[in-house]
């Protein structure tokens, strides 16, 4: 592995200092002169037609500046997902910014801009809407029945998408099996619970050009989608990159209603318009799609897979949105690819219902798959008396294998086995007792789960944006500024990307600073999503830095009257190899940017044309590959057999993420990923009234996620540092796998503790007590 100075250090960036003193850079703080505040009127009905909207009383209210109803809004069907082109064939354009057909409770039907949020809210109460209520359907089974209310004309039986992947000969595989296992595994709706609400401020110029501030994960996606739904050329929309946002986790990966509504209201009033969602609105804006997975698995007595069949049914709610893509990622990375099997068939169904729409959420279909696959493997091993570690290794890919997704590539680094063995040793796996054998009221258990293979981004998905870019500019004081379009939602790329640039340029980490960007000034970038930023944006940043370095050496070469080949950068200097002559980077930049005459000790010297100009480097490129990280997690838990309450005592994670750029930031990702995964496993669930479809968990009193008290006292993170040849300084990526494995790990540990197998998330105390036969 290359020796590094800045990469591999737990560098702390300037953001942290700013955030502990108030954090003024959050989009929620954007406040423009004359700014109006808008609110959305949302339908109480899950399925209805708007017959008439009377806004006359609202318009009379003092302070109200504009009202918007469906008739004012371009009726352009779109798909809100940021990371694919608007008209990508894999996605479904079935959404309108404001429609006269309501398909879920909470869908906006009108909006008001006023001088204060309170007045806007008051005005909403004065809008009179006549609805014709329609029959609604809230579960996928009913929605697929003949005669069920059809949500979208194009989707027969409400099936929005029905992908199938087939490999080998399934029937032959089952015929070859010694044992066949079947099971159905269900997951729920979970919210990413970013702490900063979705918020935007949209301003318009006299010529109708829009400037957009928003708490979102993709500035170019926002520009593209917003321009599309408003029928504007992209150059009429400029999205400003926020210095940082208050979390996202996939929940800010699509155009909301708020940005286009604010834009239209701004165009109407010629004022900046701000919309901040309430927590209730956030809860019904995006969710991890619930998926029901049926698995049928054929197996040899020695533990080799002979055939795997899976059918996944995804409830996408009122519009397909991410559901058209989540189902694919789920099928691939959740179900088919983590382990080897020659004969496999997977069928997916994305089904419309009158529930809230789905969204992106860390793992993007994988957590739903991992829960099913990793739970079933545990069941198989239990039934056949096989060692679950050896079982997984027998069926896992190996380093150097062709990449299962795209055989043009190989699994160049793949240290899954090391992850499994080291984590097992750390938790003392050998001491595990047989399932249900613990005595007493409180029983302990150990379990684990894996995301054996995870690939971010585009490989095999030609629709998905994957390219990244960067601009790096050197300053006369020897520091550098980096502009890159990925938004830091808390995962720390404002620091890690600077570390990569600093490493390449021979600077200290604090000499490179992440700076301003907007869609008019920096190269295109894919979103902050899919565990991709370190790898993809890191690759672009390193390339831009290499361009800077090239120019730096050229200028220094002129100054030192030597060839570039004899120069290298080190510790903020350009050094001549073979002598002790060196120049500080500051000196070189000053010389390059100086006017015609350069002052030196020997008096004024003329500068040549060739060395003039700012030292700047640009890169815009697609990354070379998509190497796979692996994630393994073991948990030790205890179950109170009289209440069903589960307490997680200890967690051991092992990851192969390639070179770790910033260990503290990586640890933080893992620990936070566990919090989300544990919440998903044990408590989180967005629930709706069966009759009306109204959200029952609209605030943190009812939507429960782990506080510091429920978290285990020990989370041990092991990083197996492979040296990925295609990654910047050997790095791969991290964020998502650590969030997909906690649910199966906890489910398997619960089984080990009390012998109860729960196949439906969240595993509430009630389900465990029922499993114990105590209800």
């Amino acid at each position: 592995m290359t020796k590094t100075n800045v990469v591999g250090q737990s560098v702390i960036g300037p953001d942290a200092l700013e955030k502990v003193r108030g954090g003024k850079g959050f989009p929620v703080n954007v406040n423009l002169p004359g700014m109006l505040h808008a609110k959305l009127l949302r339908s109480p009905y899950a399925h209805a037609r708007v017959l008439n909207i009377d806004t006359s009383e609202a318009e009379k209210l003092s302070g109200v500046k504009a009202v918007l109803v469906p008739g004012d809004v371009p009726q352009i069907k779109f798909c809100p997902v940021y990371f694919v082109p608007t008209m990508a064939p894999s996605m479904i354009q079935d959404m309108l910014v404001m429609s006269e057909t309501v398909r879920y409770a909470g869908q906006p039907v009108a909006a008001v801009a006023a001088t204060s949020p309170e007045i806007a809210e008051q005005a909403l109460q004065l809008i009179d809407v006549d609805y014709e209520e329609l029959e609604a359907v809230f579960d996928t089974d009913s929605a697929m029945q003949n005669g069920a209310p059809r949500l979208h004309e194009e989707a027969e039986n409400n099936i929005a998408k029905n992908p199938v992947f087939e490999f080998g000969d399934l029937e032959a595989g089952f015929a070859d099996a010694d044992h066949i296992f079947e099971g159905t595994y269900k997951t729920q709706r979970a919210h990413t619970c970013y702490m900063e609400p979705r918020v935007c401020v949209v301003d318009s110029d006299v010529d109708g050009r829009l400037t957009v501030h928003s708490s979102m994960q993709h500035m170019f996606g926002l520009r593209e989608k917003l321009a599309f739904v408003l029928d504007l050329p992209e150059s009429m929309v400029n999205v400003i990159k926020p210095p940082y946002i208050g979390g996202g986790f996939g929940g800010k990966l699509d155009l909301g209603y708020i940005e286009p509504v604010a834009a239209l209201l701004s165009l109407k009033t010629e004022k900046p318009v701000r919309i901040e969602q309430t927590r209730y609105e956030d809860f019904i804006t995006t969710t991890r799609n619930p998926i029901e997975v049926y698995l049928k698995t054929g197996i040899k007595s020695d533990g080799t897979f002979t055939a795997r069949y899976a059918r996944s049914t995804l409830d996408c709610g009122a519009h397909a949105t991410h559901g058209a893509e989540v189902i694919m990622v789920h099928g691939m990375f959740g179900i088919l690819l983590p382990y080897r099997c020659v004969n496999q068939t997977w069928e997916g169904r994305t089904v419309y219902t009158n529930n809230m729409i789905g969204g992106g959420y860390r793992g993007y279909g994988s957590p739903q798959g991992a829960f099913a696959i990793e739970s079933q493997i545990d069941e198989i091993c239990e039934e056949l008396g096989l060692d679950p570690i050896e079982f997984r290794l027998k069926n896992a890919h190996k380093e150097g294998d062709p990449h299962p997704f795209n055989p043009e590539f190989t699994l160049s680094t793949y240290r899954f086995e090391d992850c499994l063995r080291q984590a097992a040793a750390r938790i003392d796996w050998g001491q595990r007792t047989p399932a249900g054998s613990a005595t007493g009221t409180i029983k302990r258990g150990i379990g684990f789960g894996c995301q054996a293979l995870w690939v971010s981004g585009c490989m095999g998905f030609p629709d998905i944006y994957e390219h990244s870019g960067a601009i790096i500019k050197l300053n006369p004081d020897g520091t550098a500024n980096l502009s890159n379009a990925t938004v830091d939602m808390g995962s720390g790329q404002n620091v890690t990307l600077c570390q990569i640039a600093a490493e390449e340029l021979g600077l200290q980490a604090d000499q490179v600073r992440m700076t301003y960007a907007d869609t008019e000034t920096v190269p295109f970038d894919a979103p902050s999503h899919a565990s991709r930023v370190t790898y993809s944006a890191g690759t672009a940043v390193k390339a831009a830095a290499a361009n800077v370095k090239k120019r730096l050496l050229e200028v220094a070469g002129v100054m030192l009257e030597t060839t570039v080949d004899d120069l290298k950068v080190q510790d903020g200097h350009v050094c001549h190899q073979g002598s002790d002559r060196k120049l500080s980077i500051a000196e070189v930049v000053k010389r390059a940017e100086s006017p015609f005459v350069q002052m030196t000790a020997e008096g004024p010297q003329p500068t040549t044309i060739g060395e003039k100009g700012t030292i700047i480097g640009v890169a815009s490129m697609a990354p070379p590959s998509n190497p796979s990280p692996s994630s393994v997690e073991f948990v030790e838990i205890e179950v109170d057999t009289e209440t069903g309450v589960v307490k997680v005592l200890k967690v051991v994670f092992a990851h192969d993420i390639g070179k770790v750029i910033n260990p503290s930031a990586a640890q933080g990702q893992v620990e936070g990923g566990f919090q989300q995964g544990m919440g998903y496993a044990l408590m989180e669930n967005i629930l709706f009234d069966d009759e009306t479809g109204a959200c029952l968990t609209a605030d943190f009193l009812d939507y429960k996620m782990p506080t510091a008290v429920e978290m285990p006292p020990v989370i041990d993170s092991i990083f197996i540092e492979s040296d990925e040849p295609t990654g910047p300084f050997g790095a791969k990526s991290l964020s998502e796998p650590c969030c997909t494995v906690p649910a199966p790990a906890i489910a398997n540990a619960i089984y080990n503790a009390v012998g109860v197998r729960v196949r439906e998330l969240p595993i509430t105390p009630e389900k465990i007590l029922a499993g114990l036969g105590k209800l």
Partner: protein, 159 residues
């Protein structure tokens, strides 16, 4: 009807016209442009808006501003004295306890009151002390560690 309320914010006297149902959070963010207290849920469920009233941590989103006559309010902006960070602020930065940072100010304000009353607290005490503050990025571990470290250096008499 708006009425005037006079109180102190970070040591400065304020006299502001306040509506009957206006909250302290609204006053801080909208009138005084002190944006350290964040709106995360507006219902006392997330803790991002935590500030001190007379030295006690409160959810500013559910504190009626009209109840603050003659009170002393301290926000995160009041914690840094002459550019010198509070030990909690330093510990949060150094321990990597700040990720997205949206919960950070509220978390620090809760910890601040807690540390003023508990010498060298253990981790379990700290976890309960911040039970009213949600974080979605960190898993709380580095936050707990930061508070513990700040607790070892904080002088109880100092506040």
């Amino acid at each position: 009807m708006k009425k005037s309320v006079s109180f102190e914010v970070n040591g400065q006297h304020q006299e502001l016209a306040v509506a009957p149902s206006e909250t302290l959070l609204q006053v801080l963010r909208d009138q005084l442009r002190l944006v350290g207290a964040k709106r995360g849920c507006d219902s006392g469920g997330c803790g991002c808006c935590t500030v001190h009233v007379d030295g006690k941590a409160v959810y500013s989103c559910m504190t009626f501003a009209r109840s603050l006559q003659n009170c002393k309010v301290t926000t995160i902006e009041g914690l840094t004295k002459k550019d010198e960070l509070d030990p909690l602020q330093t510990a949060f930065v150094e321990q990597g306890a700040v990720q997205c940072g949206y919960c950070t100010c509220g978390m620090i304000m809760s910890a601040k009151e807690f540390l003023s009353k508990h010498e060298q607290p253990d981790e379990d005490q700290i976890r309960h002390a911040i039970a009213g503050n949600l974080c979605r990025c960190t898993g709380y571990h580095k936050i707990v560690r930061a508070i513990k470290i700040a607790g070892q250096t904080t002088d109880l008499a100092g506040e």
